[in-house]
Symmetry: C2
Subunit: 338 residues, 2 copies
């Protein structure tokens, strides 16, 4: 019997903030499974702000073509398999996007290891704290930030999945950690994770001064998920030899190429010997397994906490994505599909 | 008999481009030499664009106070000495600024080593290619740029002393080197140094496209002396894992804090895993001697060429400095004082 599936595709390219009309939910009929293929039913898919840049400019090499499935991580259950490495009932993760079902030849999907996934480590962690966001925190902070005991680490979008994890790892490394978030609730949450201090940027009339007050000894590492004015304000508070980890630039994603804000304070790179470096976590692919094992250990020991913000129903994917740019989410945003 | 000396001081803080009225040439009478002191007669002093930032904002920690001597490197001859380490006739360098004579207690000045300074290596090289500009090229390119054989290296202000030296070192490392300069003459000069290609930015209506044409395989290292629009155009041509060495930002030096241009394309740091790092050459102080010895070897072998742009007369120092921001100079700008 043919499988009916639903998927979200790119209907039109957003100008500025994405709108519902830029997305379309389609029903399709999946073909029969071929040799070595398996059918996966999605349990959860992720909703990622970084996806925004791929929706824009058709000139960008990685731009998503119109009519294509919106990309994301997903975790699901194998329903049928012609592949000897997978059997029905196996729990797997892959990058199939906002879909109810996917057919795979087995490449690029991972079986969840039951030795890791139990107790505090829920299967959803595979597309969150042990997936791309958590790995971004881990490699960004450790490999680009080089945290040393006593360093002051400033983190923007501190209540988001990347910032929250980066801050907890920085605490384990003996740093003083200051988080920036957009509401009192988020700031309370961030402090509950062990951050030393928080800045509610919506209440700060002068972000540079607010950072100076929260980081009286200056900033050694700025782990940036936001960009633009917030990055500029952080630069003016960096200590000599400070490191800026460019993890995300969410305040720029909805801007056209000719509207990008960027930063003004490049001369500071000379006077303060600053380093700024961008991160694409897939460059660390060969080290993923070791990092995931270490982070899983921290989670089981209770040293690393993760929070998920789960909406039910594939029909809500686009709305959940749009809400990311309103600062709605609290932790890793996921859609529970089935 | 008391020594009459002349010196240039900061008369007022420039707004925008510096003007003659911001500087004042004074005559002073130097005190008699104290214990361990020596009197140096300036032969040459340097004229440095990087000095501009110290003339501005009184709020900047390193700002030069009004009435103070304008800072620069100088080379001169010891005229009298109460210091057993120096004797009259010794040739020395130090940081005494735009002055005809200076009194020193011997700290921070260096005697020129006759084993290095002969033949192609003139004494003026001590405040040029073996001084701060050349050392900036050396450590910026090698320590921050990490040139590898086959890399494409793009250099702005390529006819200036920092860019010209950086380009020649990059050629020795097996790189393809492209220089940006502001006239046909400068471009001809830059190619005569062995640069593979040049871009005359005054004739390029679209700098991004001009760089793309000159660097068809993209840019691996951008050695930046200019900043702002030129830096932004370079960023759009960087290859993945490209390195940006922030050596100077001459297009920003005449701008007030609230007029800085900076860069727009920070999102590229993520998509292209870029690294941007600023340089203060004094951080490498302990390695200066080894670098100078290596560069002196290259000069004697004819592998590294340096050009000086020398004006006669201390009365011309301010005019020569102002001309730097008009792109007048060709190589290291020096004033021959006596």
């Amino acid at each position: 019997m043919p499988t009916k599936a639903r998927r979200w595709v790119l209907a039109s390219r957003p100008q500025g903030k994405p709108k519902l009309e830029n997305f379309r939910l389609e029903e399709i009929t999946l073909p029969d499974l071929g040799e070595h293929e398996l059918l996966i039913r999605t349990e959860y898919h992720s909703v990622d702000p970084g996806m925004r840049s791929r929706l824009s400019s058709a000139s960008y090499a990685a731009a998503l073509p119109l009519g294509e499935t919106i990309d994301s991580a997903m975790s699901g259950i194998v329903e049928a398999s012609n592949n000897e490495k997978f059997k029905p009932g196996d729990r797997v993760t892959g990058g199939f996007g906002w879909v109810s079902h996917a057919i795979s030849n087995g490449r690029g999907i991972q079986k969840l290891d039951p030795a890791l996934y139990h107790g505090k480590l829920r299967p959803t962690a595979a597309i969150g704290v042990l997936g791309i966001p958590g790995l971004t925190s881990y490699f960004g902070l450790l490999d680009l930030g080089h945290p040393e005991e006593g360093d002051t680490v400033l983190i923007s979008s501190a209540a988001g999945p990347v910032g929250a994890t980066a801050g907890q790892i920085a605490k384990m490394k003996g740093c003083t950690v200051v988080g920036i978030a957009g509401s009192k609730d988020k700031c309370d949450y961030v402090r509950s994770l062990g951050f030393d201090r928080t800045i509610n940027y919506r209440e700060a009339s002068d972000l540079r001064a607010a950072i100076a007050e929260a980081c009286p000894g200056g900033v050694d590492i700025y782990f940036d998920n936001v960009g633009a004015e917030m990055l500029d304000a952080a630069i003016l508070n960096m200590n000599e030899h400070g490191r800026i980890v460019v993890s995300g630039q969410v305040s720029e994603y909805n801007r056209a190429d000719n509207e990008l804000h960027g930063i003004r304070n490049v001369t500071r790179f000379i006077t303060h010997r600053l380093r700024m470096e961008g991160l694409v976590v897939f460059d660390y692919f060969k080290d993923f397994r070791a990092a995931q094992t270490e982070m899983a250990g921290w989670i089981h020991e209770g040293k690393l906490v993760y929070t998920e913000d789960i909406s039910a129903g594939l029909e809500n994917s686009a709305k959940a994505f749009i809400g990311l740019f309103e600062g709605e989410n609290h932790g890793r945003r996921l859609i529970k599909v089935s």
